[in-house]
Amino acid sequence: MNGSRRQVLGLGACLAAAAALAPGLRLIELAQARSPEEAASKLQRWGLLIDTAKCGECDDCVTACHEENGVKGHGRPATDSQWIRKVNLKDKRTGFAQTLPVMCQHCEEAPCIDVCPTGASMRRADGIVLVDKHICIGCRYCVMACPFGARQFVHEKTTGQKADVPRGQGTVEACTLCVHRVDRGEEPACVSACQRDGGKAMTFGDLKDPDSAIARRLKSERSTALRADLALDPGVRYQGLS
């Protein structure tokens, strides 16, 4: 009887200790996560690595992006927004063919931010380049300045907008790196779709965290930036470009 009473008391003590410690442990977890009110931090820089060798004919990244962000076309490809597009390449000399997704490259030295007269084009501390829809006047100078054709002008009325993704006729928009998902600790929709259904060609992560998968790969494997000659230090890098 004595033994079992001791056991019960011991169990009770353990439970009490766990009950007392658990909120504390949870607090540590919460303290490490970024609350929605907290500003983006310079301690991180979000980036993408795209391995063209693994990128196949599918366009799952494009579909997932437009679905996630409520980007709907009107059957007019010249004016419909394309936040991400598949570009097909063929080497003029060798004939070697490749395909790869191109979106906002989230440059450190973004030309779109330099030219924006009102400051609507902006860069978060964590490297994500965005358009403030409240102060964009629709001058399209950023579209002229972007070397990658990533900026899109909203040419007509928007319908079916997502609560997390403001869009507006007459303003400019582009890939947000799914900032609303990133702030929830998730990865961009294109990356998830590529990992799930595509060729697993896209890796997302914190370029400043030496232990992140993207940083480790960038350190050990060869990669390049688009228009590297412009020295824009984009957050999106490519592997396997011929």
């Binding site: 004016t79 063929k90 330099d114 399209r140 579209v143 040419h155 006729q169």
Partner: protein, 402 residues
Amino acid sequence: MTPPVHYREIEGRSSGFWSLVAILGLFIALALGAAWRMEHEGHWITGMSNRVVWGVPHVFAVFLIVAASGALNVASVASVFGRSLYKPLARLSGLLAIALLAGGLAVLVLDLGRPDRMVVAMTHYNFKSIFAWNIFLYTGFLAIVAAYLWTMFERRMNAHTAPVGMAAFIWRLVLTTGTGSIFGFLVARDAYNSAILAPMFIIMSLDFGLAIFLLVLLAAARGTGRAIGGEILGRLGGLLAVFAAAVLYFAAIQQLTNAYIARQHEVVRFFLVDGGIYTALFWFGQVAIGGVAPLVLLLAPAWRKSRRALALASACVVAGGLAQMYVLIIGGQAYPQVVFPDHEVSSSAFDGVVASYAPSLPEVLLGLGGVALALMLTVVALRLLPFLPQAIADPGRDPAHA
């Protein structure tokens, strides 16, 4: 000693005057209607796209803004360089500078995706943006030229005309540098991305602005029965020939520079050889009509004293200038951005191909509305205030008292 100049408002009672006002008013109304539709329907109803985001409205707007600073030439020649021969025309010169700038800015603003957010543009600035600089350069220009006109109109202020004129002259050079740099600093587009665009825009402004000034002067003189001395027109014609030749020179240097750089060969080829409408507009519009024709009309001995030849040469400069703007602004965007050198490129977003663009009616109406607004402001100002001299005499002769 120069005889005193008598200025007088235009009478503004004739049916011709009211017809002109009605026609200009109609074009302004059509432009407002076009802008309203573009804002409510969205820009998809225009010829613009995500590849060509600046269309015909920008062609007119930039042309008018560039011409505005050039229209100040005559006033500058009078007060900065002290040529009293041109002094009687200085008021008209200042007026046109303001009117053309207002017309161009109106087009620019009404073509914005959100023209209702002008207050935002006036309250939020990114000082690294050349656009933001230009907002100050444009408003500053309007203020300085207004002050300049005041020193000319108000006798007590006459003594200040020279320094204010000098300030306006320097400001206009900076302004056109800013306008040219909007394109010149676009590092990612092979058709722009050149320091030559800033001085080229200055010389273009001198050319286009003087041409418009001459057209308005000749029309006003004819419409109001004012006499103009042949010598002053002859000298202004000579100046126009110099400017037209200088614009050709800059265009040649721009293309030659690119032709020397291997990676720019395709751009030169596009504009000079196989760019379709842009090649045609370059050779026939910009070079032949805008450059060669005015030179022939202005310099051929048979036509040197002909006012009709002068008017035609000025009209050619205006038409050629619009063609040049079209080639530069729209051709420069239609030419594909090279993200992947040495590759054939294709995508759903028209990568790797020359973008198609056809001007739409709303765009053309909006652009013409800017011209109409500039002319309307001029006509109304001429009617309300004594901008025009009763007669413009040649030195030693005063046709008013002849």
